[in-house]
């Protein structure tokens, strides 16, 4: 290509370079950036951790008995499936993409959940917020069983029936 031809093309096209660090980036309507977990809405049910293709969202049990929903941005592929399946709508997809960091720890966001333990055997049943909200719809006679683990609940119910029938357990 001759230089004259090149110059004529350049004159027509003008300057196309975006002055990015000195001007706001062009972010389109459908762009998906990092996700944001709202700790006020999150129940800790863990549906997002099951749908997450690269396991960027994980639900970990800690030594002190708390459940931690951990989001590791470094592994996230920004598919937005977690936001789609979240039953509480706690996860939102933001347009934030300037996520570069010097350490891997800075890419981790944790949401800490307290847990409910079984009244009898002390086993962990589930996250406290989920248990509290879920038992709101449960009333009457069933309300006294909700702080029991499935095994203990079976035992208690069976014992109740047996005493009612008159068989000694």
């Amino acid at each position: 290509m001759s230089i004259m031809k090149l110059l004529s093309i350049a004159a027509r096209a003008k300057v196309v370079t975006r002055r990015y660090p000195f001007e706001p980036p062009v972010v389109t309507e459908g762009f998906r950036g990092k996700i944001e977990v709202d700790p006020k809405l999150c129940w800790g049910c863990g549906v997002c951790t099951r749908i997450c293709p690269p396991n960027a969202l994980t639900l970990k049990k800690r030594e002190d008995g708390t459940l931690v929903l951990s989001y590791f941005m470094g592994r996230c592929i920004f598919c937005g499936m977690c936001a789609e399946v979240c039953p509480r709508g706690a996860i939102t997809v933001t347009k934030e993409f300037e996520l570069a960091s010097l350490t891997a720890e800075d890419l981790v966001r944790n949401v800490k959940h307290d847990v409910v333990r079984c009244r009898i055997c002390g086993r962990v049943i589930g996250p406290a917020v989920e248990m509290r909200e879920a038992t709101k719809s449960v009333g009457g006679a069933e309300a006294k069983y909700y702080d029991l683990c499935p095994e203990c609940r079976k035992l208690v119910v069976a014992r109740g029936i047996m005493t009612k029938v008159g068989v000694r357990p």
């Binding site: 990092k34 690269p54 396991n55 592994r75 570069a100």
Partner: protein, 168 residues
């Protein structure tokens, strides 16, 4: 390393602000991030206005740009390339795969990103002066530019480790 040369190295790190030369190595990525690197070099983003330039040999490079989760097949080549780089040695882990393994974080044929590579490098006694992780799948050209700026210390990083308590 003696005290004098480490002082020189620290000086070199502070002086390294612009016109960095980058050696790009695909360590088993899907080519998505590589296309975005290409995009960053086109007139639209034109990283050469910062003096950033791709070079063909790691011996000429300031920054080692890796895309991909480091497959077992590429691991010896990656180690050779990093070991042949002069100090100060900077690494830019580009994309979700290089940062944390991405979608291939636990497959048998990859080692799972820079986290594991770091352990291997430490075991071999290879010193890496600074690393920047740039998440994205693939990373935007703007994010690459931002990542380089974070790596060179020109801008402060935005993300921070957070731990919040749930409660509704």
């Amino acid at each position: 390393m003696s005290g004098d040369s480490s002082k020189l190295l620290a000086k070199a790190l502070t002086r390294l602000k612009r016109s960095i030369w980058v050696f790009h190595l695909n360590t088993g990525s899907c080519n998505g991030c590589d296309i975005e690197v290409l995009d960053a070099l086109t007139p639209y983003f034109d990283v050469e206005r910062f003096g950033i330039k791709l070079v063909g040999s790691p011996r000429h490079a300031d920054v080692f740009l890796m895309t991909g989760p480091v497959t077992r097949e590429t691991l010896p080549k990656v180690l050779r390339a990093i070991e042949s780089m002069p100090r100060p040695r900077l690494i830019l882990a580009l994309g979700s795969c290089a940062c944390g393994g991405g979608i291939w974080w636990d497959t048998y044929s990859t080692i799972g990103g820079y986290g594991k590579l770091k352990e291997i490098l430490e075991k071999r006694g290879v010193v890496v002066d600074r690393v920047a992780y740039v998440p994205g799948c693939p990373v935007r050209p703007e994010a690459i530019i931002y990542g380089v700026l974070v790596l060179l210390g020109a801008v402060k990083q935005k993300v921070k480790h957070e731990e919040v308590k749930a409660g509704g």
